[in-house]
Symmetry: C2
Subunit: 81 residues, 2 copies
């Protein structure tokens, strides 16, 4: 099974890294840039030695390790094989 997990800061959380990139782009002459927000993603491959759906399993990875639920949200894209 292959899947992708996208993790991003909640809308109401400040993103200083994004802000820094926005300023850097502007100073390079890309003055049209209005906002930048940064997130991360995980490409995960597994074998099939687990029960239940791939998507649910990926959500468990998020809750147990990959995502800080206080400040982050996530989306899961699972490709079952």
């Amino acid at each position: 099974m292959k899947g992708k997990i996208y993790v991003y800061l909640k809308k109401q959380v400040l993103d200083p890294q994004g802000k820094a990139i926005e300023n850097a782009l502007k100073s390079l002459g890309f003055e049209e840039v209005k906002s930048v927000r940064v997130g991360k993603f995980f490409e995960i491959e597994t074998d099939s030695s687990f029960s239940g759906s791939a998507k649910e399993r990926m959500k468990e990875y998020c809750k147990k390790l990959l995502v800080n639920g206080v400040i982050e949200d996530f989306e899961v894209e699972a490709v079952e094989e």
Copy 2:
């Protein structure tokens, strides 16, 4: 205009962060995990004060600032408005 840029390590480049996450997931009991690779993405909003297509403009951001072409590849998803 809104767009997303996905940046990930080239296949042949080692990803120690991904490897660490893979081991952490396994030690939490998710023993089915075979590989994890980590990437980042940027959500960018701009106004329309530039010439040319949004996608081409985003590629310029990548080449000038966001992507290290030696070890990273990128994909651009532009939503012109």
